[in-house]
Amino acid sequence: MYSTSDFRKGLKIEIDGEPWLMVDNQFVKPGKGQAFNRTRIKSLITGRVIDRTFKSGETVGRANVEEHEMQYLYSDGEHWNFMNTETFEQIQLTKDQLDDAWKWLQENGTVQVVTWNDRPISVEPPMFVVMEITYCEPGIKGDTATGATKPATLTTGATVNVPLFVEMGDRIKVDTRTGSYIERVRG
């Protein structure tokens, strides 16, 4: 159990049978009165963010949330298969469980799989990945200044907006948190 005095950003708690990440915690107190902790929490399952207030001194359950390093093996289009790099145990996840992470999975690449009570609830790809463009409109040489972009499809089927000079077959670096193009990678 955690008491409100343990509250801080990043704490993982369990409320209404669901794991939550504390994203904000404020001490609130009217003049000469009871104090409260006004928190903002994010569901580790759905990503929904809600406000919850606690009378100071209340306790709340600790969410049994762990991260495991896993290697992405392959997908049959329905299931995505991963192997725990420590135990070599294999797991299968559905597209729902992956959320947006399917966009950035590269065969034999490592990801962090978050489990709650040993049940996988989300997959965190590396912050940056380098992937190949399988299709985009032909490039316009020398256009490095206008800031205009065009959509490009990657090996996983994900779409990223890239500058006009980028060509089909180029490898690009992408920020997986925002899904945005960073740079073209040579070689």
């Binding site: 107190k29 000469k32 009165g33 009871q34 409260f36 207030t53 606690f54 209340e58």
Partner: protein, 328 residues
């Protein structure tokens, strides 16, 4: 980690802070108050279920058992002992300590101004507090338009306006329903606790709805009298006020409770509530009660958060902006 040295912007604010505190002291002296100093290390901190003191130990230099003491949460008990001895009007600008409180409005040690005047009730003291704040605003912000007159609203009217509930009742159900209906939710752990629900509605709905500039809330439910006199009636109301500046609580004042027996009952009730909440009870201050028994003159008193007032006068959002070294 905060920077190890204050920035030049902070130093500029600290110079303005010194001007503000000089103006506050000068104004209180001009109004006939004697400046006093009372101990920071005390046998009995204020007994209040919602205030936690820092415990400290006095260790005798020559050996022997150490003595448990507390850093004062406000100088109230000692200042009333001076009043009972016939000091006349007194004020103090000093340090108070409240454990566990850190936010943009709280630093666990802060500067408190507290003053008492025999012969007055809370109404006359409110007039003075308003004059004093307006005077300081004119001195510290000469180019800003002077603040409007500070409206005085009873807690009952403010609750009725903000959430349509009666704060005097002791039943949690209507307060809970009012909080739900007002869209502020009910804090976990407060569902069956009328005191906590009252405080939550105050913090989340009443205070944010207060008018811009200065405003007083007056006439608190008897349960929230603290050390104020309760005026009999239906319902009985505590002769207590709080001053808010732009919705932030700045000062808390009373027509002071002078009855020793009633004061003892309240200290015991607060300690019982502390024990029920799993908190350490604090010693009952028999020296303070003896002073009331001997005769505290009828008086009014107020405590004002100096850091908050200075932050408001200087137009900065956090008390930490006007404290040289906030809690580390």
């Amino acid at each position: 980690m905060a920077p190890t040295l204050p920035t030049s912007e902070k130093l500029a604010l600290l110079r303005r802070r010194a001007e503000a505190i000089d103006a506050l002291r000068a104004s209180l002296r001009r109004r006939g108050y004697l400046e006093v100093e009372t101990p920071a290390v005390t046998v009995c901190p204020g007994v209040d279920r919602h205030l936690q003191a820092f415990a400290v130990d006095f260790v005798p230099a020559g050996g022997g058992p150490s003595l448990r003491r507390y850093l004062t949460t406000s100088p109230e008990y000692h200042m009333k002992r001076l009043l009972a001895a016939g000091s006349g009007p007194v004020f103090q600008v000093g340090r108070a300590f409240r454990n566990g409180e850190v936010s943009e409005r709280h630093n666990p040690e802060f500067t408190i101004a507290e003053w008492y005047r025999p012969g007055w009730g809370y109404g006359e003291l409110m007039d003075e507090v308003e004059d004093l704040v307006r005077e300081m605003a004119r001195a510290l912000r000469p180019t800003a338009p002077p603040p409007r007159a500070f409206p005085r609203t009873t807690v009952a009217a403010a609750f009725e306006g903000a959430v349509g509930a009666d704060p005097h009742g002791g039943d949690p159900a209507p307060l809970r329903d009012a909080a739900e209906a007002a869209g502020i939710g009910v804090p976990a752990g407060a569902e069956g606790d009328a005191d906590a629900l009252y405080c939550w509605i105050m913090a989340a709905a009443v205070e944010p709805a207060l008018p811009e500039g200065g405003a007083f809330l007056v006439d608190y439910p008897a349960r929230h009298a603290a050390l104020s006199r309760v005026r009999p009636g239906d319902p009985p109301v505590a002769e207590r006020f709080e001053l808010f500046l732009d919705g932030i609580e700045i000062a808390n004042g009373f027509t002071e409770l002078t009855d020793e027996a009633e004061q003892r009952v309240r200290i015991h009730a607060e300690n019982a509530a502390r024990v029920a909440a799993g908190l350490e009870p604090y010693p009952t201050d028999e020296r303070f009660l003896a002073a009331l028994a001997r005769g505290l003159p009828p008086c009014a008193g107020v405590a004002l958060g100096v850091d908050r007032l200075v932050a408001w006068l200087l137009g900065v959002p956090r008390v930490q902006d006007v404290i040289a070294f906030p809690f580390e």
